[in-house]
Amino acid sequence: MSTPQSQASLSALADRWLPKLVLSPTLLISLVFVYGFIAWTGWLSLTESRLLPQMDFAGLVQYQALFENDRWWTAVANLGIFGGLFIGCTLAVGLFLAVLLDQKIRAEGTLRTIYLYPMALSFIVTGTAWKWMLNPDMGLQKVINDWGFPDFTFDWLVDPDKAIYTVVIAGVWQSSGFVMALFLAGLRGIDDSIIKAAQVDGASLPVIYWRIIIPSLRPVFFSVLLILSHIAIKSFDLVMALTGGGPGTASDVPAIFMYQFAFTRGQLGLGAASAMMMLMTIVAVLVPLMYMETRSAKRG
């Protein structure tokens, strides 16, 4: 048993099995808690479950109820507004900042630290801070009033038609520094000689950026879009802290809809159906983006 050969073969045997053995608990966990749970939720969405889960197949009744629910469509419309504006503005601000910071700036490190710190905060903290700042009585509105514009009003937070836009404001504030960091990393990876050559040819700096540099950041654009759309579709905390989905249900988003129906209103089936819709939305958005990302990465 203790001859060197048998020990060697024993350890070789161990080395063949150990990796699989070590990985298997995680795989099992993933199988149960990701795939299994998705299947469970999917099945639940096909039953008539209300307060308690029941497992009898009932077809698409929950989805039918979901699509007849006005509140769901408010949430979907809000996700569209929020997602579009949030992604667009965050992308624009982040890219703008990255280009500015790329101009061999003094104190770049300090500025970067300032631009990025909101990313370390919880969306709940961000929401709390902005809720106070956007307070129509004592917030920014009053600051502007005190500065000599007494008629200025800014009450989006309590205006049912505008409340969702305040979520965009706070969301862009929180996430744009992060996008800046991603673009800056991309910009730093670009070969200086391309820029110098273009300058020799007489191209101005804005033209160089617009025509040469920004197009070469394609892969970064895809990653950024991927992350931002993911944040947007899942957005829950920020809305909860800032508007609570209100006034009324005016700034509801699907994640809040799901939470409320599944956990406070005891409509498990409807909650499960809305969760499945969120999953499908993420798949529908992310899969094409990932496909394009890998394609552009291969070409680049």
Binding site: A14, D15, L18, P19, V22, L23, T26, L27, I29, S30, F33, V34, F37, I38, W40, T41, L44, L100, Q103, K104, I105, T113, I114, Y117, P118, M119, A120, L121, S122, F123, I124, V125, T128, A129, W132, M133, M138, V143, W173, F178, A181, L182, A185, S223, L226, I227, H230, K234, F236, D237, A241, A255, Y259, F263, A272, A275, M276, M278, L279, I282
Partner: protein
């Protein structure tokens, strides 16, 4: 490129400065509001400096503010978050390190497929697992406990931690491991003696990423923990949205800063790892 102060450069710096003010404004407002008296808040305006500085709101936020029916301040919930975050971060990081080691250095037939299957866990909206998870925690008898939250955070953190370590280990030359194997080093020896000593940076990245995620989490906290065991983000939200009595904005802001301090501190002392984690988590290798 010219570095003199041309008009263009002045505009550039002005724009950068303006943006810096935009990002700092909410932090300043939170801080200054938290040290104002309520009269000062009502009489003055949002961005005015405090007339006098008082820490009353801070002590109230820490130890006696009401979050719903309870009035014990943020103190208990802060420690809940600590008790939840520390074990979750450590466990998920250690398992992730070993997993990453396997899928990068000990690839076997099908391991790439398994890794991809695992990665799906990074992308799912957690709403699709909330209902079964709530039921499972209930049946295990750990619903509404910190242990339950730790379990949830470990499970759904594994995909990310595995990804981090895998992306780090694939950059290490194969020769290193091959040479060690020829010398007779086994699976664990290679991991402990060769890879762990050079893995300091990726451990930092992973720990910081996980800590920020778990400390800042609200969804799992609000669904799986109620009452006494809720984490600080949930308590903060309850405090701010409790609508009984006079609204004490200074207490709200002090509580918000308390909730933000641990992650802000980590960001200040280890910012470069934080940024690396964000980009590593984002740009998949």
């Amino acid at each position: 490129m010219a570095k003199h102060l041309t008009p263009g450069r002045i505009v550039l710096y002005a724009a950068l400065l303006l943006m810096a003010i935009y990002y700092l404004l909410p932090l300043y407002v939170m801080l200054s509001t938290s040290v104002k008296t309520l009269d000062d808040i009502r009489g003055g305006n949002l961005i005015a400096l405090p007339q006098s500085i008082t820490l009353d709101a801070w002590s109230k936020a820490w130890s006696s503010a009401c979050t719903g029916v309870e009035c014990g301040g943020m103190k208990g919930f802060f420690w809940n978050s600590v008790k939840m975050a520390v074990p979750s971060v450590l466990i998920s990081t250690l398992i992730g390190a070993v997993n990453g080691y396997v899928v990068s250095m000990w690839r076997f037939r099908g391991s790439d497929v398994l890794f991809t299957l695992l990665l799906v866990g990074c992308f799912i909206p957690f709403q699709v697992v909330l209902l079964p998870m709530a039921r499972l925690l209930g049946e295990l008898g750990i619903a509404n406990t910190t242990s339950g939250l730790i379990l949830v955070h470990v499970i759904y953190g594994l995909a990310f931690t595995t990804l981090f370590f895998r992306n780090f280990f694939v950059t290490i030359p194969d020769e290193l491991v091959k040479a060690a194997r020829i010398d007779g080093a086994g699976f664990w020896t290679i991991f402990l003696r060769i890879l762990l000593p050079i893995s300091g940076p990726i451990f930092m990245v992973c720990v910081i990423w996980q800590f920020t995620q778990i400390w800042n989490d609200f969804l799992f906290g609000v669904v799986f923990a109620a009452g006494e065991s809720q984490p600080i983000t949930v308590a903060l939200n309850n405090l701010v949205n409790t609508s009984t009595g006079v609204k004490e904005y200074n207490v709200d802001m002090a509580a918000a800063i308390i909730a933000a301090l641990p992650t802000l501190f980590v960001y200040m002392v280890a910012g470069r790892y934080f940024v690396r984690g964000l980009t590593a988590g984002a740009v998949k290798g």
